[in-house]
């Protein structure tokens, strides 16, 4: 029965994506940014959905299983403050520049803002290298979820393949419009079913207070921060949500807004949407420590699925699995579309066609790269085995550390391409160093590597910009308006 519900859900997702094709205008701008036509509700749903990965659903509950309730403060409430601020201060301004100059990708903006092809190429390589693990997180989560929820009837590789196939279908056919329609449908699904799982499970346990009392009896350390999370770790973790300022898929979603005013709803409701999704994930993760006490390391990522299997079997389990799958798929689709947009616009169109592709060519190259990206990451997902949460943190850290580049591009006229390149180089060097040395925190205080990377990146940008020749006047006139 569970499998039938999942298949029906996937068919519905495909149908929604396919339906969106009826509005397709056949242009590159329509395929990549839906002709910049979305209103407040679709923008909120798509931006929120694009940010809610397997990391939020499976990774959060898995991490809460080990670390306790502090995970909510670490990632959820800090994101609820930092991310809307980035949308407000950076997103609205990049939307305006994107509309003014007709941008379809983040690299186009940076290349023109700093008047440098080399910077565009370096950014392309770094962003693509950081995005692949992020997409991997989603694919690994989907295979794992389907495997667990069907008691192993669907092998991990087949579950991942199924999700890849459906995502590929609506992204290639519907482009950005299909992606956002599906995202909206899926956000509503995972919010509803997440709350339903929470309600059903805690009702069976005799209420929230009883459930927490069970945790307090066996694992009281999970109800406080204690030694599991250090104060400096909490402080430095607030750097991680800055990553949205440099995510290519978020940039692409910003461009879909009809007007600057469209961002208002997103800015206000974002913290509430995060709370609605993360509270059940964290509490169910903590509660899972009572029923499934022996999950080690990455195995804890399946605690939510185990809880659903234990307390809500049958059709409900299928619905709840659909909720988890929604959260996963609606970030994988946006990320894949963003990477394929970059390949199409910033490599093929810019270098092979001198920025003069026909609309038809743009659409077909977009589709081709979407297929290539999904196929490559799917194959990688079969051989990688690392904690979903840990992979995500490293990806976020890399993007967050490049945040000074976008801040300087938008607000600081004196910033130069050499400053931006120095900043990116410092991020690459430090990221490789911290990642390969397995550094999770620096020293005994719990400082996250991202905080150090961010400081060095900002310092490199400022110092090298001031030491290099100021940008040309025509560039400044294009990006900074007087009055």
């Amino acid at each position: 029965m569970t499998i039938i519900v999942i298949f029906i859900y996937l068919a519905l997702v495909l149908a929604v994506g396919t339906l969106s094709h009826k509005l397709f205008r056949g242009t590159g701008e329509d395929y990549f940014v839906a002709s910049r036509s979305f209103g407040p509700f679709l923008l909120l749903m798509s931006l929120f959905g694009a940010n809610m990965t397997a990391f939020a659903i499976l990774g959060a509950s898995g991490e809460a299983y080990h670390e306790g309730i502090g995970v909510f403060a670490l990632m959820a409430s800090s994101s609820g403050l930092v991310i809307p601020c980035v949308f407000y201060f950076i997103g609205t301004r990049l939307w305006a520049l994107g509309k003014r100059h007709g941008y379809l990708s983040q690299i186009q903006y940076f290349r023109q803002r700093y008047d440098s092809d080399a910077l565009g190429l370096v950014l392309f390589v770094v962003i693509a290298a950081l995005m692949i693990p992020y997409i991997l997180v989603g694919l690994m989560g989907s295979g794992l979820t389907l495997n667990q929820i069907t008691d192993g009837k669907l092998p991990v590789w087949l579950g991942g393949l199924l999700v890849c196939g459906v995502t590929l279908g609506y992204v290639t056919y519907g482009g950005m419009r299909g992606t956002v329609w599906v995202n909206t449908f899926q956000v509503l699904i995972f919010m509803t079913f997440g709350l339903a799982a929470f309600w059903v499970i805690f009702k069976k346990l005799g209420g929230l207070e009883n459930g927490m009392a069970m945790v307090a009896a066996k694992h009281p350390e999970l109800l406080i921060r204690g030694d599991k999370i250090k104060p400096l770790e909490l402080l430095s973790y607030t750097c991680i949500p800055l990553s949205v300022g440099m995510f290519p898929h978020i940039f692409l979603h910003w461009l879909t807004a009809r007007r600057a005013e469209t961002f208002r709803w997103t800015v206000v409701f974002y913290p509430l949407c995060i709370a609605i999704v993360w509270i059940p994930s964290v509490l169910l993760g903590v509660l899972g420590s009572v029923d499934f006490p022996d999950l080690k390391g990455p195995a804890a990522n399946s605690v939510l699925v185990n809880m659903i299997g234990l307390y809500a079997p049958g059709i409900l389990a299928g619905f709840l699995a659909a909720g988890v799958l929604s959260a996963i798929m609606n970030s994988v689709d946006s990320q894949t579309l963003a990477i394929s947009t970059m390949f199409t616009q910033d490599i093929v169109c810019h270098y092979r066609f001198n920025d003069k592709m026909t609309e038809k060519q743009e659409v077909w190259f977009g589709r081709l790269f979407t297929f290539a990206v999904i196929a490559a990451t799917y194959l990688l997902s079969l051989v990688v085995n690392r904690s979903i949460f840990k992979i995500s943190v490293w990806t976020f850290s890399g993007f967050a550390a490049m945040f000074p580049v976008v801040v300087a591009a938008v607000f600081w006229k004196r910033s130069t391409k050499y400053g931006a390149l120095a900043s990116i180089a410092s991020v690459v060097i430090l990221w490789i160093y911290f990642f390969t040395s397995g550094t999770e925190t620096i020293g005994t205080g719990g400082v996250m590597p991202v905080a150090v990377m961010l400081l060095v990146s900002a310092a490199a940008l400022i110092v090298v910009s001031l030491l290099s020749k100021p940008p040309a006047d025509h560039v400044l006139q294009k990006f900074f308006h007087q009055g």
């Binding site: 301004r93 939307w95 909490l234 208002r264 800015v267 509430l272």
Partner: protein, 76 residues
């Protein structure tokens, strides 16, 4: 009230919220409030207060010039 003062008051408010996020005062407190551990309850309230602060931000300090600029440029 001068709009510049309102703007800076709201920016300062956001910074104060950022500081309040680091709730050292409930670090080792395991009391339950409305069924939630107080450390979690605090951050749920924090999320609601953040939404209110952001509502005030977009209501009183919205960057209206962006709309006009982008429309003017698109038309030209």
């Amino acid at each position: 009230m001068n709009s510049r003062i309102v703007q800076w008051a709201l920016y300062t408010g956001l910074f104060v919220l950022y500081l309040l996020h680091n709730d050292l005062w409930f670090w080792n407190d395991s009391r339950l409030v409305l069924g939630l551990p107080i450390g979690l309850f605090y951050h749920v309230c924090f999320s609601i207060v953040t939404a209110v602060a952001l509502y005030l931000l977009v209501k009183f300090t919205w960057p209206r010039h962006l709309e006009a600029e982008s429309e003017k440029e698109s038309a030209s």
